[in-house]
């Protein structure tokens, strides 16, 4: 059944969802044990992963991905329970995956070990656990916040509240919470009456993720308008968090629940000719790679095979090069940062390579360093300084770039870019919209 037949549901009842999603003191049932020791067969100890790790560079407490991944797994015996606690210092940027020339399933190893550690060794009443659970379930927070966006923005921006967050929860007071949009993307979508283009053979289902919905609906709108411009039917199925922040915090069960709901709502569209499009590179990463690696749920393989990042999809399915070559925009310059998760999907160069041929645009890649925020990592009070140290290269390069507007696909990278430089940050889809629509 497609969205075309069933109008996408309106904003769900928050109370109900909240209870379902967020139970900070629940003790997990025994998760299915995964044995990833055979993955160590691929490692030939080249250390490419270690030199790619942005955390190991600034944090000597973190022993690096080679140890956390293939070495720790290989040393495991079945009865050994303990996973080294340094696993919690991994930011899940997945750059090690991108580096490994030998196909070691590093991030899968990290995710699984982290899940085991949180499951078996972390105190479920500890401040760290509760804080991580809250951060991992950003959607729940956002859903509540966006019910009263102005009030929430005012409260969260209040420095007293920020201090309390830091003292009580361990969420850094250095960062400003992102503003909630006064109208969510889904509200806008419903208001416009859903799809405005219908097509039998060009149809996509949009996975907007939490951030485009609650915080930057303009990205979601740009996606819809660009795709409709190319003649696509866009539908917006009901959805939950892609799971990225949950993986990063070892909240595998939360992620699995959300994955189940996403599978239910997206997998059925695929036989009807829909491909799945994400505008957030971490969401597309999760649907493509982490879902099939971590969960055995019907439909996830299909979803993985049919998920694309938005611009990637157009590059493959449309003559985007020519469209861009024929277009022009008013003079503007961008400092572009490729998110780590985009890198992993081979998407780190596409914005720069495409837009450098767009009349009026000057775009510079600010280097291949990690922004340092890695989703929830940089929000943790004890990681904040390290996060900023990791980001310092990027801030430097941004300041040296000609443009005073940042550009990236990842919502949390954009928070970090803004936090470090004060620049406005755009999503490539917004420029694409300006050029083509």
């Amino acid at each position: 059944m497609s969205d075309a037949e069933t109008p996408p549901d309106t904003t769900p009842t928050p109370g109900e969802q909240g209870e379902d999603d967020f139970e900070p003191v629940e003790v997990f049932p025994e998760s299915t044990e995964m044995d990833l020791r055979p993955g160590a067969d691929n490692c030939y100890k080249c250390t490419s992963c270690d030199v790619s790790c942005p955390v190991a560079e600034v944090d000597d407490e973190f022993p690096g991905p080679k140890f956390q991944g293939p070495e720790q797994w290989r040393l495991k015996r079945k009865e050994d329970a303990s996973v080294d606690d340094s696993i919690m210092s991994c930011s899940n940027c997945m750059r090690c995956d991108d580096a490994c020339p030998s196909g070691v399933p590093l991030s899968q190893m990290h995710n699984t070990a982290r899940g085991e550690y949180v499951d078996e060794e972390m105190d479920k009443l500890s401040r760290e656990y509760i804080r991580n659970r809250i951060l991992a379930n950003y959607r729940t927070l956002a859903e509540l916040g966006s019910m009263f966006p102005r009030l929430t923005n005012a409260v969260m921006g209040n420095s007293l509240v920020q201090q309390i967050n830091e003292k009580v929860l361990g969420i850094t007071a250095e960062r400003e919470f992102p503003d909630f949009a006064t109208q969510t993307f889904r509200e806008w979508w419903n208001e416009r009456g859903g799809p405005q283009v219908r097509s039998e053979d060009k149809r996509v289902a949009y996975f907007h993720g939490c951030y485009s919905n609650y915080n930057t609906p303009e990205v979601g709108k740009a996606m819809v308008r660009v795709f409709e411009e190319f003649g696509y039917e866009v539908v917006v199925p009901k959805q939950r968090c892609s799971g990225t922040p949950m993986f990063a915090n070892g909240m595998i069960d939360d992620a699995k629940r959300a994955a189940g709901i996403n599978a239910e709502n997206f997998a059925g569209l695929i036989p009807e000719g829909y491909d799945i499009i994400a505008s957030c590179t971490s969401c597309s990463m999760s649907l493509r790679q982490e879902y099939p690696e971590l969960f055995d749920i019907d439909g996830l393989e299909d979803i993985s095979e049919h998920t694309y990042e938005a611009m990637e999809y157009l590059r493959i399915h449309e003559d985007l090069d020519s469209a861009i070559a024929d277009a022009s925009v008013s003079e503007q310059s961008f400092a572009y940062h490729a998110p780590c998760h985009a890198r992993n999907q081979g998407l780190d160069r596409q914005a720069v390579e495409l837009f450098r041929d767009l009349d009026g645009v000057n775009i510079e890649d600010v280097g291949d360093s990690c922004s340092g925020i890695s989703g929830t990592y940089g929000w943790k009070e004890e990681k904040y300084d390290k996060s900023m140290q990791i980001g310092s290269d990027m801030f430097d390069h941004m300041e040296h770039a000609e443009g005073n507007v940042g550009m990236t696909e990842c919502p949390t990278c954009s928070m970090q870019m803004e936090h470090g430089t004060g620049y406005d940050i755009k999503h490539p889809l917004q420029l694409l919209e300006e050029a083509l629509v």
Binding site: E57, P63, H317
Partner: protein
């Protein structure tokens, strides 16, 4: 619809980068299709051309050894001109960051194992530490960095009869890290000149080394002296010590290799080469003896890339451009012929440093570097090969790995570019 370019270079190492730069020079639109991080990160960052040939070596001049190489050696195919062209592209790509271009002669460089080896190009940070230059030397190692034992390396160099005296000391790094802190942590601390007990780490390190300095005219460290700000780090240490400071190239984790990789990719960017990385080329579609499309495994789905000409530079056994099982050695992307003995026990020699067959494994190029089948016919008219995937050279013995990559990359890239832009 496929993503389309004139020349598609598959690979991400030194051969692939050189081929892409070379093809771009012809005016072709070039795309580099890299899978993961290349073997540059495992290599020392030195660029060897030829150090040993036949029974000769170490060769003071690499070109003197060319005639000693077997007929099917890639150098015999591309010739001296090909080697020189590869070096030219390299020198242009890295600019002042590398030395050695002023002469044909090899330099002798100390390795982290305490041996020395002949090399044609070396990073600027290595220059003042040449073993073929005079000046007494102090080598500095650190307690928890087990890869480089400075006193052992120093004694080893003396055992080789270097014409100067050399001494090694082991220090504790001024900033206390956990014993398993990564090398990049040390580099970063120096890069940012982090503070340590009211001092800065660079000055604290200089003080510690100054206490050990006993008239030596140069001081060497394992290659960990900074990353983004390496020149600054080295200059400050040299300034404080009053003698030049140099780095000793290391194996993995090799920051010099990493920096070389960055420089080459910057050069690609500069040359307008497009880059798609992160996913492997795994298959292709062909029409007769022309490859039409290369298929990239983009996380459980194939993305097609189209080009007029293709250069295969996926590396050898280490770079995973060659694969093997108990019976066969294969080139996995295009299935090119890789000759090898039938019995796998003949792939290697019992002596660890014997003349291993596996070291020469690779595709067999024709005189335009097209991989050939068992009958000597090229597999595809628009496919060329460069670097480690090309067989016939025992690069480890010869100390010719980078040179073979540069030379075959330069030639394969140029020919591909010319064919594509005709």
């Amino acid at each position: 619809m496929a993503i389309t370019d004139d020349v598609l270079v598959i690979g991400g190492g030194i051969a692939a980068c050189t081929a892409a730069l070379s093809a771009a020079e012809t005016g072709a639109q070039v795309r580099l299709l890299a899978h993961k991080k290349s073997t540059l990160r495992q290599a020392s960052g030195l660029v060897d051309v030829l150090g040993y040939a036949g029974d000769d070596g170490p060769l003071a001049n690499p070109y003197d050894g060319l005639d000693e190489l077997p007929e099917d050696h890639p150098y015999r195919i591309v010739g001296e001109d090909g080697i020189r062209d590869g070096l030219r592209l390299f020198d242009e790509a890295v600019g002042d960051a590398y030395r050695g271009g002023h002469t044909d002669d090899n330099a002798l460089v100390a390795t982290y194992g305490g041996t020395m080896k002949p090399t044609a190009r070396y990073p600027e940070s290595v220059a003042s530490g040449l073993v073929s230059a005079s000046g007494d030397m102090l080598l500095v190692g650190f307690e928890s960095l087990t890869d480089f034992d400075a006193p052992v390396a120093a004694d080893h160099l003396e055992a080789a009869g270097v014409p100067f005296s050399v001494r090694g000391v082991t220090l504790s790094f001024p900033k206390a890290f956990r014993a398993d802190a990564k090398l990049t942590r040390f580099a970063k601390a120096l890069d940012r000149d982090e503070s340590v007990e009211g001092e800065t780490v660079r000055s604290a390190l200089a003080d510690a080394v100054a206490d050990e300095l006993d008239g030596e005219s140069r001081v060497g460290f394992p290659a960990m002296l900074g990353d983004d700000h390496d020149t600054e780090v080295r200059d400050e240490l040299a300034d404080r010590l009053g003698v030049p400071v140099f780095e000793v190239p290391t194996g993995p984790p090799s920051l010099l290799g990493l920096k070389l990789e960055d420089m080459l990719f910057d050069a690609l960017d500069e040359a307008g080469v497009r880059i798609a990385s992160g996913n492997p080329a795994v298959d292709f579609e062909a029409d007769g003896d022309r490859i039409e499309t290369v298929l990239v495994d983009q996380k459980s789905r194939m993305t097609p890339y189209e080009a007029d000409q293709i250069v295969l530079a996926t590396g050898g056994l280490v770079g995973k451009g060659l694969d093997s099982d108990r019976e066969h050695v294969t080139e996995p992307v295009f299935g090119c012929h890789v000759p090898h003995p039938e019995d796998r026990y003949d792939w290697s020699e019992p002596e660890a440093f014997g003349d291993h067959e596996f070291a020469r494994f690779g595709v067999v190029p024709d005189d335009e570097l097209r991989p050939t089948d068992a009958d000597g016919e090229s597999h595809f008219e628009n496919l060329r090969a460069a670097g480690g995937v090309v067989g016939g050279a025992h690069v480890a013995r010869e100390k010719s790995a980078s040179g073979v990559s540069l030379a075959t990359g330069a030639v394969a890239g140029r020919l591909a570019g010319e064919d594509a832009t005709q």
